[in-house]
């Protein structure tokens, strides 16, 4: 299993829709300071519900919508809400081959992993949409395979894929320094959470 694509729409420094194709193995993302490298990781954390707005370097969730979009909302009666969305597509072709040998009832599948006829799909998508009104109020919704779901349902499914919110599999810019400066008790609590 691996992440096949991250599709980013109006999120932080991404205006319009951008597709970031990914492959298994070792991929480096490089580019000048301020070009948007960390924002790609923030998009991943946003869609999978693995971080708070503070972890994505924003004071409030609405700050995550691309700035140039915010301006558009104030136009002459134009659309009054603006929307940011991120879709993460996982490639599960390896798992699907395994699942094909087991009937749907026997396997404790992930939601959205089988099509209408019960055949395993080889892709699994998670989407999060953030809509902000002109007054600044907002709604944020999660979807698995196009179907709405709650954050805790999403976390349950992700933990079946061995993706855990406290798993330290995403190390953000500055996390190494914070491990160094945290006190010994906080460091022990990290192991505690994993236990």
């Amino acid at each position: 299993m691996y992440i096949k694509q991250v599709e980013i729409t109006n999120f932080k420094s991404f205006g319009g829709t951008t597709r970031v194709p990914l492959l298994p193995g070792f991929t480096v993302v490089s580019g000048p300071n301020g070009s948007g490298k960390s924002n790609i990781l923030d998009a991943l954390l946003f869609a999978l519900g693995l971080s708070s707005s503070k972890g994505m370097r924003a004071d409030r969730l609405p700050d995550l919508v691309n700035q140039s979009q915010m301006g558009k909302g104030q136009g002459k009666g134009k659309r009054s809400t603006v929307e940011a969305a991120v879709t993460v597509t996982f490639d599960l072709s390896e798992e699907a081959a395994l699942l094909a040998t087991v009937s749907a009832e026997a396997a404790e599948d992930l939601p959205g992993l089988r099509d209408a006829d019960g055949q395993p799909l080889s892709e699994w998508t998670v989407t999060r949409k953030l809509r902000v009104t002109q007054q600044g109020t907002y709604t944020s919704n999660y979807y698995i395979g196009g179907e709405p779901c709650t954050l805790s349902e999403l976390h349950q499914s992700l933990s079946k894929l061995r993706i855990y919110p406290e798993g330290y599999n995403v190390v953000l810019q500055g996390d190494v320094t914070s491990i160094i400066s945290m006190n010994p008790r906080e460091r022990r609590q990290i192991v505690d959470e994993l236990a």
Binding site: T18, T27, Y168, N169, T177, N183
Partner: protein, 149 residues
């Protein structure tokens, strides 16, 4: 609960020793301040970089500290493996040969899991399977350029 903690602690400690030795050619281990009551105790990263006396994190140099902290993060990850990992400029404090050792370790692990690594350092870029270029286009929007390696 104490049982579960010790099981996790011992596994992470074993991982830490292996990983620290691979990244820095020294010896390191995790140490609880008060092993009698682990759930109250503090956890220290004790390491003895190649050819040096044993030190706690506080008296190490910037690069030694970051290599020790990185080994701890990787030790936690090995305890609960995940299908993908994302790192954001974790190599910025390291000198050339430490960056190479880190990149080599990531390359080996990439056979089992997907690694997405943001980096500005040459040895990391050279060790990767492919590079995604990112740049700031007109009007400060991020543009992603695919790069074939």
């Amino acid at each position: 609960r104490q049982q579960a903690f010790y099981e996790a602690f011992d596994a992470v400690d074993r991982n830490f020793q292996i990983i620290f030795a691979e990244l820095s050619q020294g010896d390191g281990r995790l140490q609880l301040d008060d092993p009698e009551s682990p759930l109250e105790s503090g956890l220290n990263l004790v390491a003895h970089p190649k050819g040096k006396p044993v030190q706690r994190l506080a008296s190490m140099s910037g690069g030694e500290k970051s290599l020790t902290a990185l080994s701890f993060i990787f030790a936690l990850q090995r305890y609960r493996p995940s299908p993908f990992y994302a790192f954001d400029e974790v190599d910025m404090f390291l000198d050339g040969s430490n960056v190479e050792r880190l990149a080599k370790m990531v390359k080996q692990q990439a056979a089992e899991a997907q690694f997405i690594v943001v980096s500005l350092r040459r040895p990391t870029i050279e060790a990767s399977d492919r590079v995604i270029g990112v740049t700031q286009a007109r009007g400060a929007q991020t543009q992603v350029l695919g790069v074939v390696l």
